[in-house]
Point group: C4
Chain length 211, copies 4
């Protein structure tokens, strides 16, 4: 896959997330692999469904510095940059998405102040790398912070927790979710799968409480 | 941004609102900046998703008179005109949208006859200009009136209330919402953000009552 | 509006109803005005979102006979024909739609065996010809029958009931809804408006019972 | 209908299922008739909405061997193959779809460990071949297994049960549903109809429990 194809796929994903209501109002973000090991990152503060393939920043996941900027001088790189870079370093992720999906927020509410919510009894668990449908998957839920950059510490703590070693997502209470994969396709599969797991778990929880 | 680009963006927004179910059955409306300080306003009584860029009226936000009308002689300017003009004058808004989204109606129901509903604990609050995600946002809810033009007084009272000085939306009970911004892009971001906040607040309220 | 434009608009409406989930699995139907006072009716038993403008039947609303059939010999006219013709004769409707929207079925459930459900306190009531948003609108709900053709008697009884003289829709329990208008555009507005009223009324009813 | 048309229709259906959220994250599958009595089957482990008409496998429904593979060497045939082949042999189905729709999972939950859920009082029952809207339809619900191939025995038991002789769908608990028809068009109608029946039955069940 060439970098040009990656760029087109990334902005296409942003459009699809927008159409599903997972990102809106300039929220959300995405990154994917640039040639040479760097990360392509969407700009911040813009309507994400309108980002073009030439409007991505190239950042170094180790130094977190900008290696290349788009021609449009009014763009700034995503506030998610430091979190994306941290996940890339710690988990070898090459593509990461960040959404504000309401299903992720309602799923986070189920933690009720705790540090995870358990997903179980769903075939779609097999959509997460390494999981069988017979397993229970504890998805980490962290506290939100005033600024996205301050979230790094909370994300880092979840990633360092051995209970979450097999997770490819961190849910942020009142906020949304970060989801990643080894490449753009795995990230896409994980994004779709985790959002399904959130919806299913919330829907089943609602029914159980009514019973 | 030229007036021609503004016209295309406004009718594109109407189409998107329609596709999301926020306007339907000829309801809803939108306005944006014309060249020279006037407002471009969609026509009334037509299917809003089919309005063309050349079918907008140009109105003076101070005198509320029509400065220019579209060639199609059967069109009349939106009944929202006086409300749009009032918001433009009082808040410096250059673009305003009016939807009948069910989420806005259900959000208004939460006021239970009161004059506001509080939004809190949501990252998406940052989508409203000037708000931090740690703040509580009291969104004004006003009573509906038989005709849209009679709503002006209720909208005016909410805008004059210092408790709502930072709000960019007025919810109308049993009816929908008016949302605005300093330009077309901020109005778009505010529209998407407020509708998300409505959905999230209603969904969480439902869950709390069941608990 | 030429008959050719009407044909294109009718099949476009079928596609939109399908995309919204209001018709599916070959269900649903639509009719509109042919030149000379007859009705254009969609075929039965086909996937409605795939019907072409040349695949409509022309029927006489008085005699209910087929005046013209599409070239495709395998098509049969909609089972809704007699109901459409009856509504056209009794109400002067020139365009009628029939959907199986789940919201219409759930709205019908609220009648709880009675003959109507009341819609009130919704601005969108103004989307129905002649209604103010301050009025209460009793929407008739009739019993379903094994075959669509047997529904005519139940529809006729509702149309003859003076309490429903101002209604532009008849809900069929466990089944869906018939909605009409004086022309294709009014029928479109009424279809969108009634489905909104159904969704809103069901959503509010759910909340009230939980309170 | 030529095999080429069937191929295009099958991948078009996958795209539509994806857009409705019935398949996602590489899940789901579909098959249809190849020339000469064999089955065209979608590949496994790929994003189903992106499958091209030339990327289907041709399998023998009796021997379950691959008769023809697509040019792309990295593709493997669907894990659903043996289940598709079994349904094709036992029921004469020529087209079968497998979705992970949340509505199917929530419908399966209503079985509460039992072997079926009853659908009744819905006009859309007429969308299933041979059913009247006055009938009750017991839809079989089977237990899920760690691997799709191990499901064959559970599917086979449901198909062999005379109580389910008229069913065109088997719901798999925690997983989704298999739906079939005598040809691609009937399968499409059955897929849309069963998903509607699932949504309606779940929505009504929720309301009944609240009452």
């Amino acid at each position: 896959m060439t970098e040009e194809e990656t760029r087109r796929l990334l902005v296409d994903q942003l459009r699809r997330y927008y159409e599903r209501g997972w990102i809106s109002g300039t929220g959300g973000g995405i990154c994917g692999p640039a040639d040479g090991g760097a990360l392509l990152v969407a700009p911040t503060g813009v309507h994400k469904e309108l980002v073009g393939p030439d409007e991505l920043f190239t950042i170094d996941p180790v130094t977190e510095t900008i290696l290349a900027a788009p021609a449009r001088a009014d763009l700034r790189p995503s506030e998610c940059g430091p979190i994306f870079a941290h996940i890339a370093r710690e988990r070898g992720a090459r593509s990461i998405a960040h959404t504000h999906a309401l299903s992720a927020v309602l799923f986070g509410d189920l933690a009720d102040g705790g540090d995870h919510v358990t997903v179980e009894r769903l075939e779609m668990l097999k959509g997460i790398r390494g999981f069988a449908n017979t397993e229970r998957h504890d998805v980490p839920v962290i506290r939100n912070t005033p600024r996205e950059i301050e979230l790094v510490a909370n994300v880092a703590r979840a990633l360092a927790d051995p209970r979450f070693a097999r997770a490819y997502a961190v849910v942020v209470e009142d906020h949304g979710v970060y989801v990643w994969g080894a490449d753009v396709w795995e990230a896409k599969r994980h994004v779709e799968t985790y959002h399904y797991l959130f919806e299913a778990t919330v829907a089943r929880h609602d029914r159980r409480r009514k019973g």
